[in-house]
Point group: C2
Chain length 377, copies 2
């Protein structure tokens, strides 16, 4: 006779309704020994100012241009931008119907989070984090208002194992003439949900025009269930999603009302946004007592609404603001997860379950290990 | 006035008709300086036999079981399998319609390519490579015939930067009770193409029942165009696909007739398969004079046809055998591409164009650098 299902023992797959992909979970395997690559430790004794850093105040960048003597945040155009401003070239004819090309224009910005070389988001004050949030909003509005820009992607790569070449705290913003694959897929899923007559009524907030919002519904369920919640406050919840691919992946989103983008945040919501970013990134650093590497990205309405937009594309206006944190570390500061082999050829796969990961993160302190009594003695 | 489009200068995106995803190409950016992580060099002086290797002949594995004194290839069940044999548990009820679970059963096998610890595919003789191919066919048939197995994924992770913990030449095979996300998506795309009445007639081979096969059509076009072809022989073509994500990605597939799986290969086709695998993996090693890391996977009919199958699921029987090689190295043995940030949050992105990558690989020798006159003097 078949056993009852135990999510901490039995291999199973979970469906990600945002991307329509599955992840294979093998929780019984999380104790296998590690024989593979060990990451080099990150430098810990960084100077507050590094004369060789191209992001520090006053220093010269690759273009020869000098950074200002900025305080807190600063934004400039990436010297090695992946896309360049319009006008673009004429779209070429396809050599075969299977081989298509779309020219892409846009802009790539670097967003410096703080003037100090040695800090990171978890080590900023809430006031300083508030300034980072304002900078994200400013860049999103500025780029999103430009002609031909259809999408703004704000993200942060943290740590050399994520390919980040400079520890100076910074993120990026890529603004593009087309909506990229992943947000386009997510928006498709949200739209399908908003228009699905079979969605059962619930006490979750509703999206625009009273339509169901999949992410409002999901956040509402998780706040009630608590099994995958890491931290929450009045407006926001940070959780390890049911379908998480990365060991300690976090989805951060508003749970109390439908919010399409950063632009719609109230002052209260910004304050609690800064607070929850601080709390989760401190827990991340404390998990393995290291500067915890990740890629973080903000998904929201592709660009801010323009005057007179309201109603025009209302059918497509289904975005609910959320942040993804994808961290590669698996079991220590030096043992990472690799997205290779089966995962590149077949399907995402994880060992520890999302519930186990959430439990580990809930057990972490919210006092940063570098500021703890033991560290400062 | 807009410029004419130049694929070596202008940012553009290309569509991948297998996965329905785009890749953003930024060819103007391929000369940016590298400031990031440098990979540790791989050990080069490996012994032919390593007493501590769990794959070498006669040695004990984690389970305590000892490997036989095998010659050439050997296959055993992975001691840390991601899925376990049936019977599985009862599928649980979903706690919410958005949180679904499917139990997964199956088997994970390790396929050793050669008894010598210090060899790799590019350093095997064609006869030895032929034995690896026979082992792939044997495992695919054996697992694919088992009850409840719906899919067999054969793959190889090579190199510590791909998370491969042991340099002993080996691959894996994961056999599963469901078809995973990526091959399911590819099969969907192939099926749509096979049933598309708008596909223009061409001189490419046709799929089963005379339907169009997207991969036969694509291979046929590339063999005529030559711009992305790395090497080809009578039966096979290895090319950097139009939509390649990894810098030196290769798609290897038969171009002269429609072949659903390894089982259908003739003796001649196996001989030329061994030859082209040797030629491309030697070129890979020669590109940066190192043991070139990659993930390789075989996509084919999910499991071999069973007796009496013919006709039953003919509509879904659209697979065309092909191999993907996804190598992370970008510009030297120590500088890799990272799939992070924008790529995790928005869309795959590459700097050098697929045509430039193919040209680089075409310029490589087919004599392995370790066997060249200079190396053996
Ligand atoms: Zn998202
Ligand atoms: Zn494929």
């Amino acid at each position: 006779m078949a056993e009852p299902f135990d999510p901490t023992t039995h291999s199973h797959r979970r469906f990600n309704p945002l991307t329509n992909e599955h992840v294979l979970v093998s929780p019984h395997r999380s104790k296998r020994p590690w024989l593979g690559q060990i990451e080099a430790p990150q430098p810990v004794d960084l100077p507050a100012y590094d004369p060789k850093c191209y992001l520090c105040p006053g220093n010269a960048r690759a273009s020869g241009e000098k950074n200002g003597q900025y305080q807190n945040t600063s934004v400039f155009v990436n010297d090695y931008a992946a896309v360049l401003p319009p006008p673009g070239p004429i779209a070429p004819a396809a050599p075969h119907p299977l081989l298509t090309t779309q020219p892409m224009q846009g802009a790539c910005d670097v967003i410096i989070f703080h003037h100090r070389h040695d800090l990171t988001l978890p080590r900023l004050t809430l006031e300083e984090l508030g300034k980072v949030i304002e900078e994200w909003i400013r860049v999103y509005k500025m780029r999103g208002a430009q002609d031909g820009i259809k999408y703004v992607q704000i993200f942060e790569n943290k740590g050399s194992i994520m390919g980040c070449s400079n520890p100076h705290p910074h993120g990026q913003s890529w603004s593009l003439s087309e909506i990229p694959t992943i947000p386009a897929t997510e928006l498709q899923s949200l739209k399908r949900y908003a228009n699905n007559p079979d969605v059962a009524p619930s006490d979750a907030p509703r999206g625009l025009n009273g339509r169901p919002c999949m992410l409002c519904e999901y956040a509402n369920f998780e706040v009630q269930d608590q099994g995958r919640v890491v931290v929450q406050n009045e407006h926001w919840v940070a959780l390890v999603p049911w379908w998480a691919t990365w060991p300690f992946e976090i989805l951060l989103l508003p749970h109390h009302r439908h919010i399409p983008s950063l632009v719609e945040l109230t002052e209260d919501e910004k304050v609690s946004f800064a607070s929850i970013i601080s709390r989760i990134t401190i827990r991340y650093d404390n998990l393995f007592s290291c500067s915890f590497a990740y890629s973080m990205g903000i998904h929201q309405r592709p660009i801010p609404l323009k005057d007179g937009d309201s109603g025009a594309n209302a059918d497509d206006d289904v975005a609910h603001l959320h942040l993804h944190f994808f961290p590669p570390l698996l079991r220590s500061a030096s043992v990472r997860k690799f997205l290779v082999g089966f995962e590149l050829m077949a399907e995402a796969q994880r060992d520890i379950s999302p519930e186990q990961a959430a439990e580990r993160l809930r057990a972490c302190s919210e006092v940063h290990y570098m500021n703890s009594a033991a560290a400062t003695q």
